[in-house]
Amino acid sequence: MADAPKKYSKPLPQIDEESRPYWEALQRHELYIQKCRDCGELRYYSRAQCGQCLSPSTEWIRCSGRGKVYTFTVTNQNNVAGFRESLPYVMAYVQLDEGVKILTNLVDCAPQQVKIGMPVEVVYEDVTPEVTLAKFRPAR
């Protein structure tokens, strides 16, 4: 697990009823996405209904936590508290092996080492007692 700073000052997710199972799974160090029981479409981020057919019938799929870097940026400027103090950092879309692309940070890796297509694996960062973030590091 990556080190969590003593006082966490970055913006926290505003968890709602649609997203609560996603965040609760992350607290257990499990990464879930949704699948429509009617049309089979996988989706990220979490919503109460399918983006293809609006069906509310949803199952949660546990992900392998493995994927590849789809694209990324090394951020050198951000005045938002918490990020201002942790420049530079890498923001990326990771395409999970299950198919969906998710926005995240790449950690445990020098920014200049990051390449598109690089295999990565999830690392769970417990940033507060209530919130765990899914970040990614180079696959081991």
């Binding site: 913006p11 981020y45 940026t73 400027q77 951000n78 990020f83 950092y89 923001m91 692309k101 973030l133």
Partner: protein, 381 residues
């Protein structure tokens, strides 16, 4: 029912300010409206449709109606980021054509440079909780598109830089542009990287500013002071994360360009100049590809060799763009104004020769997360 040639822009005025700590956004808006009405030979009493976006908080466009003391028959405050005003012209045309009103004013004023509002945090949109914990920035969102484009097609920082260089050349011929000293490709590459692979000079500037355009029916347009600029075709849409399945190099312009050309009944060869929202250099490159001016992946080569200069084969952003002239958070208004001025032949040293038909493409929001897009095709014929 087609909107082709039913309406025209008959007034356009760009506020010359780039820094106005002594004025409110509402005042800049009112001054811009006054300028556009004088340009058209109309008065406030003629305006029966009002369209705007960007009023911070409060009652928005109702507060603007109060401030301007107008009781219009048509109100639209479609707010889709910097592209909003491009959407507004299409909405004004539809409203006028449907008989809802006769004279629409599309107006804008901003003091974002002299009184910057805070960014970041978020939490209002359902998607925010999945993004704000990871430190997204506006530049970063576009930078991720640039990184992927470079990876897939070998697009180079030098190619992106040429867009900024060309735009600065145009700004040098615009007396009200904020940055007018010419720059080189090396200057762009030597500027610090804000969010890789985008340098400072790949990014739009921050300024105050404002502007207004007046839209009316084709019949009424014939009696105005200035030569009408007719709307031939318009289209709008949005692109977003698509449930996690998005093809990130396809932008809103892919859909709106195709529709706007179909609706206008013209082809790419007919476009004499284009105003392309240049929030960042990469925005221009992928927009030109998605509009079909070159194939996907060929944007890097397309923007090289001076093609985009005012005297090149495909002039764009002749006012100096958001990269050098002004970018008061939202740039759509200035795309409309410069296209109108070019089609009237009012651009002096930066005038595009034989400019009959122009394309305007607005992109609002964050390209790598969710964005709006609208395309207009305008002509003086």
């Amino acid at each position: 029912m087609s909107l082709k040639h039913k309406t025209a822009i008959v007034g356009a005025w760009e506020h010359p300010t780039r820094f106005a700590p002594d004025k409110s956004a509402f005042q800049i808006t009112a001054e811009s409206l006054h300028g556009a009405l004088l340009d058209a030979g109309l008065t406030l009493k003629d305006v029966d449709g009002i369209l705007s976006s960007g009023m911070a908080g409060g009652m928005g466009i109702i507060a603007l109606c109060d401030y301007l003391n107008i009781q219009p028959n048509f109100i639209d405050s479609t707010s889709v980021g910097g592209a909003s005003f491009v959407f507004h012209v299409a909405h004004a045309a539809a409203a006028i054509n449907a008989g809802l009103c006769n004279v629409c004013a599309v107006v804008f004023g901003s003091t974002v440079a002299s009184r910057p509002a805070g960014f970041g945090g978020g939490g209002a949109d359902p998607s925010d909780q999945y993004e704000v914990p990871f430190g997204p920035t506006t530049v970063g969102s576009y930078a991720m598109i640039a990184e992927r484009h470079m990876h897939d097609y070998g697009t180079t920082p030098e190619q992106l830089a040429e867009i900024a260089v060309t735009t600065r050349l145009h700004a040098s011929m615009n007396p009200v542009a904020k940055y007018r000293n010419p720059i080189t490709i090396n200057d762009v590459l030597a500027s610090r990287i804000i969010s890789s692979p985008l340098h400072l000079l790949d990014c739009c500037i921050i300024s105050d500013g404002g502007g207004a355009v007046i839209v009316t029916s084709e019949e009424r347009a014939r009696d105005m002071k200035k030569k009408p600029v007719y709307l031939l075709g318009a289209a709008e849409t949005a692109r977003h994360t698509s449930d996690g399945h998005r093809d990130f190099l396809e932008t809103a312009a892919f859909q709106t360009g195709k529709l706007a050309f179909e609706r206008a009944g013209v082809t790419h060869k007919d476009i004499d100049m284009a105003m392309i929202y240049d929030s960042f250099t990469i925005t221009v490159l992928v927009t030109l590809e998605n509009l079909g001016f070159c194939k996907r992946g060929e944007g890097g080569a397309f923007v090289q060799g001076g093609r985009l200069r005012y005297d090149g084969a495909f002039p764009i952003n002749t006012d100096g763009g958001g990269l050098s002239s002004c970018h008061p958070m939202m740039r759509g208004m200035f795309l409309l104004i410069e296209a109108t001025r070019q089609l009237r032949g009012e651009c002096g040293p930066r005038q595009v020769k034989n400019c009959l038909t122009a394309l305007v493409n607005g992109t609002g929001g964050a390209l790598g997360q969710r964005h709006s897009g609208a395309t207009l095709i305008l002509s003086n014929q």
